[in-house]
Assembly symmetry: C2
Homo-oligomer: 224 residues x 2
Amino acid sequence: MARRNRRVPKAPARRPRAGETYHHGALREALLAAAEALLLEQGVEHFTLRECARRAGVSHAAPAHHFGDVRGLLSAFAAIGFERMVALMRRYRAEASPAAAAQLRAVGQAYLDFAVANRAHFQLMFRSDRLDRENPELKSAGQAAFDELRQAMAAFQREYGPADADLAPRLLLAWSVVHGFATLLLENQLDVFRAGRSMAAYARTAGADILGLLGAGLMVPSPE
Amino acid sequence: MARRNRRVPKAPARRPRAGETYHHGALREALLAAAEALLLEQGVEHFTLRECARRAGVSHAAPAHHFGDVRGLLSAFAAIGFERMVALMRRYRAEASPAAAAQLRAVGQAYLDFAVANRAHFQLMFRSDRLDRENPELKSAGQAAFDELRQAMAAFQREYGPADADLAPRLLLAWSVVHGFATLLLENQLDVFRAGRSMAAYARTAGADILGLLGAGLMVPSPE
DNA sequence: GTGGCAAACTTGACGATGTCAAGATAAAAT
DNA sequence: ATTTTATCTTGACATCGTCAAGTTTGCCAC
């Protein structure tokens, strides 16, 4: 009722226009969309619940009714990230040769490509301080992504690896490689290597190099 | 940025007692020490400039005179972290066999042990949003740490690797492995693997497994 | 010594933020 | 039609980082 006379330097806190109802109707989705845009533009470090609400055209306390608190919202969006990553992994696998080595490379390249194409989103997915790790959607989506890697690595080991060796160390090694590379790249730690090339291009070429090295190394029975 | 009602034992802003001077005398060091304690206790996500000043017994605006802003302080402390990491790398290398493979493992294990023993400190060192990457001390300290790895990897390749191959992909692979493993471990992503064991113990055993696999894989000439 | 000046530190304010409590409104259930 | 519930707003609070302006102190020229 009271007109909100906000002296606004930022987003113009859009009031409901004619025809818009007091109830938003699809605020949950609108907030997730606003979060996506905000993360894309500003990065995970400048994400703000209030700015997110502003962009969705609602008051600063509205998100609480759908997500509890800011970690609830970000956890929901992180879960979406894992789902999209899984989708990309499956697409890459479908387009790759069915050979176990190619399948493993496809999963790794999908991991890297997703990270580079969705920088803030990826960073959010692994920032425990901004997430509620007990969120059930987040847990299951994260598990699904990990399962893609586990499955590809199991097939790889069935084909090349020593049959008696434990899967865990190889799985951990592969995950560490792609995750470490993505993390370092996104934190601008590899700028000296990248040397001007775009992140996407570099993730492609250097990523292929690294995944190739990793695969070649894992094909040899380890001396244990 | 009011966070939730974290059980924060907010130190009672100790006023200068009798005999203490208006000028602290060594405030810069006191602030860095307070930052260390605060990070250790609360983690990087709950670090606060004002709480840091409180612990050092000075007003909330005092740190600005020594560090500019919060990123200045954290960058200085991150630089200290890289220096300590380099010291640990050198100690491990000195204690290890001079063989290139053992030297490389020593560097990797030092990386992991430092990360686990200094969780918040390590996380800070790679959180660009809290740091000023142009800070000269931070830059040179980070470079020194990287040089340890580079040097060990160069020696490794001189001894085992294909002499004509490029060093960069192998260097990137090794860094990605240790960094990814440390990151995932500290973000509690490996709890299912860890299965109750302490982080330090797990970083030792699983870290050795992974570094062993990596070394074995790199000893074979890659098919490129 | 002593006057003055720059560095070190304090005080208070400002605009943010996340969350809570209480009110207003719409939709759904009875 | 009335009641209940879900949705959204409003306003307040504690806290944060930073800035501007005032105090205190160390120190150097004289």
